[in-house]
Amino acid sequence: MLRFSTAGSVDDGKSTLIGRLLHDTRQVLEDQLAALARASARRGLDAPDLSLLTDGLEAEREQGITIDVAYRYFATPRRKFIVADTPGHEQYTRNMATGASTADVAVVLADVRKGLLPQSRRHLYIAHLLGIRHVVVAVNKMDLAGYSREAFEAVRAAFETFAAPLAIPDLRFVPVSALHGDLVVERGTRMDWYPGPALLELLETLEPAQNELALPLRFPVQLVQRRAEARAYLGRVASGAVRVGDEVVALPSARRAAVSGIRTLEGERGAALAGDSVALLLAGEIDIARGDLIAEAGRAPRPARSLAAKLVWLGEDPAAPDGSYLLKHATRTVPARIAAVDYRVDVETLGRHAPGPRIAMNDIVRVGLQAQQPVFCDPYLANRGTGAFILIDPLTNGTVAAGMIE
């Protein structure tokens, strides 16, 4: 299975690209096609507008833009895909971050005639910030540039220059025409000069860097059950692996114990891997509650109340100076405040600027946070599961920021 996000400004043809992927893999079913034909005809179009397949809310269908994250599902014989289709507008950066947070791959669109736009820089940076290791730049509208290799290479060079400081581990480029289909699913014959696979084949064969098993065990406790023989700690392994007999440490108590059982509805297991939801049983009586972390003894995270992190401000209201927030990290929610704002990132130049008077929506800032209780975290780029957090405004209950521990 592969999860990928798509990012591109409204005119780059992102929605058409997804529509093309769904259409050419025969995922668009007859009633959807019929609805598409009707909707396109109502707009006076004489060919089905594939971008309408992914726009869903009334307001955006009327305006012809995407204003929220739409999740689309399709499968080929080789793989199941989850697509987070995210908007390109600056005011919806927060939705782009949302879609990117669970993606293994980012597909960034560019218009071959326009090249590296400010919007493209923003999307590349957000993909990097959210820890996406694989970025595929789909250089679109090749039909409008005569399918020219030179035009494609010029765009590729501009992107590579900008992205160099980001050190994206796997950055690739594919020339496509979403409108006509070249190199999206079918190769076509108009870009024989391109040696690589079509976009879909690339997505089918790309193996996301899964170093999760090599990471230390992180098991955030969701629930505690008193069972006949022992207490059971329910949760999902966030990283690493755990075997019966392993020695683990429980935080915050810092008490150590051996794993005496790993259980699911089906019965006993010898081990659990990152992504598995299980019940852990430990030898010995340790006081563990929801929000605690069971970690690999010897490679445990350091409890910290002072945290350095990057924030993407998601809330419509700016941050209140000295405001109190709730910081939710894994299964633990603690009161926290923003103690210092170190700098604001200019996503178009990757430069650092002095922070403005208040952190505003879509700002990306580096901050120092002070939590009232310790948090057991890892740097985000090392461990997405235990390096991420959100800030919640306790008055509105809104999710106001996405955070990544440095």
């Binding site: 299975m1 079913l29 007859e30 009633d31 959807q32 609805a35 909707a39 992914t54 869903g56 809310l57 009334e58 307001a59 269908r61 929220d68 739409a70 999740y71 689309r72 599902y73 499968a75 199941k80 927060r94 939705n95 971050a97 949302t98 947070s101 669970t102 969701q222 629930l223 059950q225 069972r227 329910l234 949760g235 999902r236 692996a241 075997r243 699911t264 509805l265 010898g270 081990a271 891997l273 992504g275 598995d276 939801s277 929801r290 998601l314 939710k328 990290h329 894994a330 299964t331 997405r384 599961g385 991420a388 957090f389 959100i390 919640i392 306790p394 209950n397 809104g398 999710t399 996405a402």
Partner: protein
């Protein structure tokens, strides 16, 4: 140690994680259970999440009064087998209270369900309602979060949905508000059937091929029932059909099929040319924005 995890394993674990988060974060949750296939999958996932303990929530069915008797019987039997508490609230009761008024006796009650649903949530003070909706079902659901905020009137405003990143779910609500939770958001119809086959889940017999009297009307097969008799000029035929989805009798259509078990249905579904709702729901055809409007009004 088995290293491979199938996509079904991944989806299952995600749903279990979401259910446990509800238990950990919400004071008074409830799970919508209709006896339909998606809610039966949810029950199985709840077993996986919580057994050997009881579920930390009751089951709730909003009964339109227009369900297939087989499904109601199955609903009751399954709840009893699980030993879990089932609460039923009916659209008929809302009609008696006057909060629901139908324009005609045979009007579809699907929209009226919203009213009864919100009344039940208010009556029993639920702060979280777990349902089996999936994002692949319909355009307006493609944008749903796992935890979807509903205001005091139970309405869904797309502009006010909270950003949802990673697996960090914000379930906080003020008094009178609630969240809808959709643990199987990322499941598709083929996934559902593959899971049912894999787990050997029992379903109401309607889902499997059987002989039934139907009339062909507007490109769909309408089941002949006392609520939905043939119209003037229509001729009933007996065909071998199965229901891909079961809902209100007045708006649910079967499809022709001889698939007799979950495995065969999974194969058929993978090759399907029409979406689940497109082939089978008479109410969704009225406009593209039907579901969105119903959600704004507090529907599922």
């Amino acid at each position: 140690m088995k290293l491979e995890r199938s996509h079904l394993d991944w989806l299952e674990s995600e749903a279990i994680f979401v259910l446990r988060e509800v238990a950990g974060e919400c004071a008074n949750p409830v799970l919508f259970f209709s006896g339909g296939k998606d809610s039966l999958v949810l029950l199985r996932l709840a077993e996986k999440a919580f057994r050997p303990a009881r579920f930390p929530f009751p089951l709730l069915h909003i009964d339109t009064g227009h369900n297939f008797p087989e499904v109601i019987e199955f609903r009751d039997r399954r709840a009893a087998e699980l030993g879990e508490r089932l609460v039923v609230r009916t659209v008929e009761d809302s009609m008696r209270r006057g909060s629901v008024r139908l324009r005609s006796a045979d009007e579809s009650r699907n929209a009226a369900q919203s009213v009864t649903l919100l009344e039940a949530i208010a009556e029993l003070a639920f702060d979280a309602a777990i349902g089996g909706a999936r994002r692949d079902e319909e355009k307006a659901r493609a944008k749903e979060r796992f935890f979807s905020f509903r205001d005091r009137s139970g309405g869904w405003e797309p502009r006010h949905q909270r950003p949802e990143l990673w697996s960090l779910y914000n379930a906080r609500v003020a008094a009178g508000e609630h969240v809808r939770v959709f643990p199987i958001s990322n499941w598709t119809e083929p996934d559902i059937w593959q899971y049912i086959a894999r787990e050997g889940l029992e379903l109401p017999s309607l889902y499997y091929a059987h002989r039934r009297a139907v009339v062909r009307r507007n490109g769909v097969l309408v089941p002949v029932t006392p609520l939905t008799p043939p119209r003037a000029g229509e001729r009933a035929e007996e065909l071998t059909v199965r229901f891909r989805t079961v809902g209100d009798i007045s708006c649910t259509c079967p499809v022709e099929s001889v698939a007799a078990n979950a495995g065969e249905i999974a194969a058929e579904t993978a090759a399907a040319r029409l979406t689940e709702r497109g082939a089978t729901r008479m109410d969704d055809r009225s406009s593209d924005a039907s579901m969105e409007r119903r959600k704004r009004e507090g529907y599922f």
